[in-house]
Amino acid sequence: MEDSAADVAESIEELRRSFSYGSRSNLNFKYLKDLTDGEFGDFLEELLAAIAATTDDGDAARVTDVAYRWQVHGYAGHLGDPADFPHRHDDKPIALLGKPLSESRVALLTSSGHFVEGDDPEPFGVVGMTQAEAEARIMDFIRDAPTLSAIPIDTPAERLRVRHGGYPIASAARDHQVALPLGHLRALADEGTIGEVAPVAYSFVGATSQARLRKEVAPAWAERLRHDDVDAVLLVPV
């Protein structure tokens, strides 16, 4: 147990915020900053009750359920009033497959922050940026335009890397298919469910300038996919 910041008095709000890029940063729980103090108390009460019950029967699912339910609640309000959401669109562009899925070339694009060993996008010119550095520079990422990493679909798992300052990457680092399902798509192509997987998948760090992404970057990436001659795209935000 670490000494806590020299026992300086801390408000409940400061405590909640410390989990979001603060002294107790934990990206699984950064939503705690968006709860009210009362809700934070309810969260702790439920969590402690779940831990107590788990102590007796070992069923930790109830603990993860508490975290999941409060995560959903925390994010439900994080965009503010939907009417004021700046990226709201009342129109909906629609395209349809022009051929059966079993004859279609399907591409994969995710915001997971994966890249191939030896092809590090080196954000801000930093060589070998660590996950901790990416988290510390989250505001720089949010101001900058994103870089698209090309990932050949036959890349061995041990050559995949993931780094993203905006979400907990531990799961995606253990098993890239939680967000980058290369093997599942290849299997579905082998079985004939899809015609083929586009030879190159793409990943980027989704914590990025939304304005630059919308106006400049996303249209350019769409053209790149057209150049790849893909018939459909599976997207996986994290």
Binding site: Y68, Y75, R88, P93, L109, I169, A172, H184, Q210, L235
Partner: protein, 87 residues
């Protein structure tokens, strides 16, 4: 949000798309007007399933591709609860 912009841009040039969103972000595809989305009852950072749960991961991918194949323009929440291993 980021993938919503990309999804709209791709769909706008005539290529159909489907996105897989975790429940915490499940309100975003509707607000942003994306054509198709699957929403999973999974925690942030694990949209397709837990590490090693290849059965669930594949199921989610199959459900997403099925939306594409059917040409539906819907946001569909999958009923399966989070799990750490196949039951």
């Amino acid at each position: 949000m980021s993938v919503g912009h990309v999804q709209r841009a791709i769909e706008s040039i005539g290529i159909p798309t489907v996105g897989v969103y975790v429940r915490s972000f499940g309100h975003i595809p509707g607000l942003m007007g994306v054509a198709r989305a699957i929403v999973t009852k999974h925690p942030m950072g694990r949209p397709l399933g837990a590490p090693g749960d290849h059965e669930r991961q594949r199921h989610v991918v199959e459900q997403a591709l099925a939306l594409l194949a059917r040409g539906e323009q819907t946001i569909t929440e999958l009923p399966e609860a989070w799990r750490t291993r196949p039951s």
